[in-house]
Symmetry: C2
Subunit: 168 residues, 2 copies
DNA sequence: TGATACCCTAGCGCCCAGGTAGGTATTCGA
DNA sequence: TCGAATACCTACCTGGGCGCTAGGGTATCA
């Protein structure tokens, strides 16, 4: 699924959001708070900057700031900046015109029977990422266990064969 | 994202669904039709069999059949059987009781600010996989662009929140 | 009795996520 | 004016896992 690029990158954004309106936050500070490797964060924050999600101030007393209000930054932007693109499976990509392209449908006339599935999955992921803003994460625990948050139940999943084997 | 295990495995299931009710379908036949490596498919179909999704007949004139009707087989079952678990990111797993566990929340009291995001994403993926049955893929293009399909529109946030909360 | 097909275990190569290293450029405070 | 602090850049390394192969064994049918 999503790599640690997204995991770390989102954490960086959350830290910056908590700093909002104040002085720029040095990356070393973020790395220390989260126990994350500084040198690696530099790569990630570079992507965020090129995507226009954060601004930077060089030199002493420098650091990073959000380029916009947390309410105007969606997780879709953040994750796409970090991962490069959002695709549930390799054979599915988004064309320049926004259409979904399946690598298995090279020769026209042959329809990929699984395209419907991956298109649906991709759509639901993108929609969720677009509907979640940075502000949602910062407000975080204040939410009284929101509709999508930590609820224990995934009702029918338990009925789905043996429930997740990897987690103990 | 999902690996080719899911990609190939779902294709195998679709081929079996198309054969439904008839004689068992040899794996070599499936491999040839899809241009997929036979020896690799054997690993995948073994998982599907252990998950109770397909039945097998050994010997000459043998092969594989669906264990149930295509309408009763969800993609959540198929993907979970193939991938082992469904998690958008490594630090998120599903506990035995169905609750979502975040590896970053080891010490109690410390709340992971990104858990909300990954929980939402995971939930939307699982829901989509559960709502899509094997029959949907076999019928394929006959569907008039269902609610989750390729439509460009992005509905409002509130709608999804409530829809999901009712499911739990 | 052979041919067909499922079934199991072991192992291998390549790619890349994840991280390190070392340098340069810019800004601030004293 | 200097040096500390910080962003910014390029190159490199490394382990693990995905995707696949190899080579058997075992059940069933003609």
């Amino acid at each position: 699924m999503f790599s640690t690029k997204s995991e770390y990158g989102v954490r960086v954004m959350v830290e910056l959001a908590r700093q909002a309106g104040e002085e720029p936050l040095p990356l070393a500070e973020i790395a220390e708070r989260g126990g994350l490797p500084l040198a690696y964060l530099e790569h990630l924050v570079a992507r965020l900057r090129k995507a226009g999600l954060v601004d930077s101030r060089r030199g002493s007393r420098g650091g990073y700031l959000l380029a916009r209000s947390p309410t105007e930054i969606t997780m879709a932007e953040v994750v796409e900046a970090l991962e490069g693109s959002i695709a549930p499976i390799e054979c599915i990509t988004e064309g320049a015109d926004g259409s979904i392209v399946c690598a298995r449908e090279t020769d026209p006339g042959h329809v990929c029977p699984t395209k419907l599935l991956w298109t649906r999955v991709r759509f639901s992921i993108v929609r969720t990422l677009q509907e979640t803003t940075l502000a949602d994460l910062v407000l975080g625990p204040s939410l009284p266990a929101g509709p999508l948050s930590t609820g224990p139940a995934l009702p029918s999943l338990g009925a789905v064969g043996r429930a997740v084997s990897s987690a103990s």
